[in-house]
Structures are given as C-alpha cells and as structure tokens.
C-alpha cells in the first residue's frame, strides 16, 4: 500500500504549500495597500506607447496621430512603434481595446486617449490605474474626473475651450459685415461639445452687434457635403438677407464656399475654425476671413509624451501643480495678413517640437463652470 502512503504525503506537502502561498499572497496585497496605487511598481524602462482615437479618415485626427508618430520618432523608434487603438466612434470598443492592451503589456503602457465620450474616460482611467499603467487624456472627460485623484497614473488631461476663440472669429466676421445684416451658423454634430461652444462664441459676440440678426443655426455634422446642402437651403430661405457665414470648422467652410461658388456669389465673408492647410490657403486667397489653429499635431504628440515620460519616471506627475495636470491646448488665429507666414512655419515644414517641453504652448488650467 505504498501508493496510499505516498498520496497522503503528497497531499500534506500540497496543503503546506497552499498555506505558504496564501500567507505570501495576503502579505503582498497588504503591502500594495500600504504603498497605495501607483507606488507598487517601479517606473518602466521601455513601455508600449499607444494612441486610442476615432479613426484616421478625419483630417483633424490624422494630425493628432501624426503628432504621436513624430513623438515616438523623437525617441529614435520607427513610426510603427506607436500602437493604434481605433475605436470608430464606439466607447465600448475604446474601453475593450484598452483593457486588451493592458493585459497584453501587463500594464507596462503609456496611453494617450480620447475616450470618445466623457463618461467613458473614468472606466479607462480606472482600468489603467489599477494595473499601474500611465494614461493621458484628450478632449473627453467628465468634470468630476481629475488626474490628481489617481496619484501618478492619470498623468494629464488636455482640452480646448473654443468659446473664446470662436467669439473672436465672430467679431472679425461681424466687423467685416459692417456691423449689420444677417448671419447664418453651420455647426458640428449637435451634441458635440466644441460645436456647442463655437455657436456660443458667436452668440456672445452678437450681443455687441444689435444690428446683426442670427438668421439660422443648423448642424452640418462636420461634413463638407452636408454643409454644402445646408448652405444651399439657407440661400433658398434667406437669399440676399445672408451677409455673413460663421462655420464651426474648416471642413464645413469648404462646403459653404462650394455652395456659394455654385450660385456665383463672391465676396461673402465666411469664417472657419481648426486651421487645416486648405483653410489657411483659402484665408491667404481672401476666400475665408479667418481660421483658428489649435495645433493638433502638438496636442497629439505631447499627450503621448506626457504619458511616456511619466511612465519611465522622467517626472513625477503628483509633484506637478494642477495647471500641469489639466490644461487648455494652444489656439492661434490665422488672418489673411499672417496666412503666408503661418503656412511657412506650420504647414510647409512641420515644426520640430521639443517633446519634453510639456506645458510651453499650453493655455492655462481648465476652468469649470
């Protein structure tokens, strides 16, 4: 009956191992609890760098991601070192992709992300913080979610306040209209935050111009073809009452210009937003009055850079002041007179940025209303 004896012996050893293992495990958990999240792991030497965004079809996101690629190249790595997580406008996919990448890299990750919508930012940040990865967010987060509540792991959040700059473009437009007449606004997707802010900018400016009437404001979904159709319908409805057009972004403005061209209307003042190369060219030609450049290339690069340098321990986010954790991105107005200079500086050659100058071009701490 030696095999029975052997079995009993084996079981005894197993049980002892199990007890040891449990004690060890508990101790480890207790230790993690003592040190707090984010302290449990040392900085990574070579974390994976990832950008999670909608898709590349949109010129704006294309610029953002090209900034991310420029950043990884500054590390002496190929463009392909940047992992792309493409959510195609789905928050569920966004979160699922992040979780998958976290388990693949066992948390050795520096993530730059636009969470697609504000509520999705929290689960993403929590998933990262839980396994000790480092995350920086762009654009979308709820007002109650703050980087400083997550120690070092939630490195930073950057967004743009468009109300002020949109108000300035509106003032330029209203001046060009001679302070009288009728203006129409073509907006982004109705529920988008920047779309709302840019329309508010126009409304703020209109308060000082009582002789200008806001004839209509309709969403054009950031889409050139839709904007063209909406502008054509505006022309039917208001005809010569329209003396100025305020567009929520450049792609909408292109559609407006084409609708005007189809009707043979020339010299109508039109404003744009975003500072894409084509819009800057139109500003130079005098077809557009003004556009606002938000430097998405820098925004995309610096968001990845912040997460990366925090992950390798180059700086400690929790020791930075709050205006370095939540801040506004840069805005540069492009007027006809500076279109040529702007084109030379930002479009003909993409400027080489110092990706360790994290806050140089930024625009102050985010304010909540």
């Amino acid at each position: 009956m030696s095999f029975i004896k052997k079995f009993i012996e084996q079981e005894t050893i197993n049980r002892r191992d199990l007890l040891f293992a449990s004690a060890y495990g508990l101790g480890a958990v207790a230790a993690t609890g003592l040190m707090g999240p984010g302290m449990a792991r040392a900085a990574f030497s070579d974390p994976t760098v990832a950008w999670s965004y909608r898709n590349r079809t949109n010129p704006y996101w294309n610029e953002i991601v090209s900034g991310g690629e420029a950043f990884v190249e500054s590390l002496g790595k190929p463009k392909s070192f940047l992992t792309h997580l493409i959510n195609e406008g789905s928050s569920e996919k966004s979160l699922a992709d992040v979780k998958a990448l976290l388990s693949k890299t066992s948390g050795e990750l520096a993530l730059a992300i636009d969470a697609n919508d504000a509520p999705n930012a929290r689960p993403v940040v929590e998933a990262c913080a839980q396994v000790g990865a480092y995350v920086s967010t762009l654009w979308n987060k709820t007002d109650d979610l703050h980087p400083w509540d997550f120690g070092d792991n939630y490195v930073s959040h950057m967004t743009w306040s468009d109300e002020g700059p949109a108000e300035q473009t509106a003032r330029i437009l209203l001046e060009a209209m001679g302070g009288k007449g009728g203006v129409v606004h073509l907006g982004g997707i109705a529920s988008n935050n920047p779309a709302i802010e840019r329309l508010n900018g126009l409304k703020n400016a209109l308060k000082d111009y009582p002789n200008v009437e806001l004839l209509d404001a309709q969403p054009a979904d950031w889409d050139t073809q839709k904007a063209r159709d909406v502008m054509a319908s505006f022309l039917t409805r208001y005809g010569s009452e329209i003396t100025g057009v305020h567009c929520a972004n450049d792609t909408i403005a292109y559609g407006v210009l084409e609708a005007l061209r189809a009707e043979g209307i020339e010299g109508m003042p039109v404003t744009a937003y975003d500072g894409n190369p084509q819009a800057v060219k139109h500003v130079g030609n005098g077809e557009l009055l003004v556009t606002v450049f938000t430097n998405p290339h820098w925004g995309g690069g610096i968001t990845a850079a912040l997460a990366y340098y925090a992950a390798i321990g180059a700086f400690k986010p929790s020791e930075e002041p709050r205006e370095h954790r939540e801040f506004y991105g840069p805005t540069i107005q492009v007027l006809p007179e500076d279109a040529a200079k702007f084109k030379a500086e930002y479009i003909d050659s993409v400027p080489t940025y110092d990706w360790t100058d994290f806050w140089g071009p930024s625009n102050g701490q985010i304010e909540y209303k």
Partner: protein
C-alpha cells in the same frame, strides 16, 4: 342598397392596394412640393409679409430646384446602382467604400496625368468607372463563390473599400481645382448645372438597361422568383455578377459627381451614401425582396428625400426632424409594399 354594393367594388378597384403602392411615392412627392411652399406662405403671412402662394415662393422656384438637383445628383447615381441589386432581391451595402475608392483613385490619376480635362487626365474618368466595375465584380464574386449573403459580403467589401481609400490617402484630402472639371457645378444650362444633366443622362442609360436589355429583364426574373428563373435555364449567378458589376459603375459615376460638387476627394467622400441610397430606393417604392420597382421609382425616391432635406431647412424646422420624418417615410413605404395577408412571418 343595390347602389352601394355596386359602388364598393369599383371604388375598391380604383383604390386597390397595387394602385396605391404604385402611385404613392409620386403622390407623396407632389404633396411635399405643395406642402413646403404652403408652410412658407403661412409663416410669412403670420409675420405680416404675405406673398402669393407658389408664385413668389422661394422654395417653389427654379433656383431652388437647381439646388435640390445639385444635392440629389450623386445620391441618385448611387441609388440607381443599388436599385438593380435590390430588383434582384439582393442588397449591396458596399457603396460607401466603392465611392471613396473611385473618388480617391480618380483624383490621384487626374492630378498625375495633367490635372485638367483638356489633357490626358480625362482618362481618369473612364478609369474611375473601370475601378467601380472591378470593385462591384469582386463584391459579386465574394457573394457568389463563397456563398455569403449579399448584405454581409457587400458590407464587408464596403469596409475594405473605406480602408483602402484611407491607405491611399493617408487621411489627407485631395483638391481638384480644374475649372473644366468643376464646370460640372459652375456651368449652367437653362438654370441647371451640368452635373444634373449628366445624372439625368445616366438615369436614361439605366432605364435603357432595365427595360430594353436582356440583362435588365433578367434582374426582374431573378427578383421575381429565383428558383423559377434557374429552372428556366437562366444562369442566375452570372446575372448576379453582372448586376454587382453594373452597380459598381454607377457608384463610380456618383463618386465623380460628388467630387465635382465639392472639388475634394477624400475617404469621407462616400459618407452617408449608404443610408441615403437605401432609403431613397425603398421610399421610391422598389420592394426589398425584388422584382418590383425600377429606376424611375428611385428618381422619385431621391427627389422625395432631397425635397424633405431642403424643405425642412427652408421652413425652418430643426434638423433632427429631418431624420425622424425620413425614418417614418421608410416604415410607411415598406408597410405599404408588404402584402401582409400573404406573408406569414418576417425574418
């Protein structure tokens, strides 16, 4: 008593379901064309600056008809393409990808070969049509060889197309600034821009194919009863393959008009064409299970959708109403065309 029994059958014959289904789309279009000017008149009247109904209407004017024409032309071409497929009882959802690829390849070749229609660059136009045909052909092959339902095969091919367009452009937009090509939009004959005539010409071509060619009759045969067509010795798979190829050509025409309209070719050129084209085909009265309808139905459908889009803004209704109204129209159109007594279950 005798009178009423005599009356009833004749009235019911006059308003028979078939007749209603057949004429409902054009009736809806007619009502819309009268309805929007009425609202416009009413609102002007309430503001105390009344105008003569219809005569002074901004909506009911040649200028606005031209605007609706411009808005409708590319969508009409795409919808005509998918009409052939729907007539066969299949569906093609690849239009967004095909339109994007055709637009982008056209723009690349056009710019590379001279950037104006007056040079060899004009060859980019037939090339775009060939590319469209090729994409449709592959789409059909995937559907037939791999025996994948057409809706899934074409949807997948559409994604492939969008991805391909994105790889080709790298997310950039390509400007076409040739005045000659842009005369599609800027040059007007009898108040309407050239692109409207181009679209009408291709509509006639489609009508010719549908009614005067064997292929056109075969579409109806396959849609009306595939087993029967097969049993009669018709090579159904070949008809399907030809149908998808033909649809690809019309998608390419739509792509060219879309580029001509805004002077930009990009991955987003194909956006929204899926929803618009399927909606217009269905609203026009072409039955989703095949065999009923045709390209003229599609023209009416396209006009209904574009009149609504334009009219809603002209009378100043918020944009979200447009989608809602279109959705209700689709349900009405399909509900009208279903013979519920002969359909026991729906999948």
């Amino acid at each position: 008593m005798t009178d009423s029994t005599m009356m009833l059958p004749s009235v019911s014959r006059l308003l028979s379901r078939e007749r209603l289904v057949r004429w409902a789309p054009i009736l809806v279009l007619g009502l819309l064309v009268l309805f929007f000017p009425f609202f416009e008149w009413l609102m002007d009247f309430l503001e105390g600056k009344g105008h003569a109904y219809l005569f002074d209407s901004r909506f009911f004017s040649i200028r606005n008809a031209a605007r609706i024409g411009i808005a409708a032309s590319p969508g009409l071409m795409v919808a005509v393409g998918v009409t052939f497929i729907i007539l066969m009882g299949s569906i093609d959802l690849s239009m967004e990808g095909t339109v994007s690829v055709c637009a982008v390849l056209f723009a690349f070749v056009f710019l590379a070969w001279g950037a104006t229609l007056a040079s060899w660059a004009w060859l980019a136009v037939p090339l775009a049509l060939v590319v469209g045909a090729a994409m449709g052909f592959v789409n059909g092959l995937v559907h037939i060889w791999l025996k994948i339902p057409s809706f899934m095969a074409s949807l997948a091919m559409g994604f492939v197309g969008t991805g391909l367009a994105l790889i080709l452009t790298g997310g950039d937009r390509i400007r076409i600034e040739d005045e000659l090509f842009r005369s599609l939009l800027t040059e007007r004959i009898f108040n309407f821009p050239v692109m409207v005539y181009v679209a009408f010409f291709f509509l006639l071509v489609a009508w010719f194919i549908q009614s005067r060619t064997t292929l056109g009759r075969n579409f109806y045969a396959v849609g009306g009863g595939e087993e029967l067509a097969h049993a009669s010795g018709l090579n159904v798979e070949r008809v399907r393959l030809m149908g998808f190829t033909l649809a690809g050509v019309f998608f390419a025409v739509g792509a060219l008009l879309a580029v001509g309209r805004i002077g930009i070719a990009e991955t987003a050129t194909g956006n929204n064409f899926l929803f618009i084209s399927i909606t217009t085909v269905v609203v026009g009265g072409t039955a989703l299970w095949g065999g009923i309808g045709g390209v003229w139905n599609t023209l009416v459908g396209v006009l209904i959708v574009n009149v609504i889009n334009n009219g809603m803004i002209v009378i100043g209704l918020p944009a979200f109403f447009q989608d809602g109204v279109l959705g209700i129209l689709v349900i009405l159109a399909v509900a009208l065309s279903v013979n519920r007594r002969s359909t026991s279950f729906v999948k």
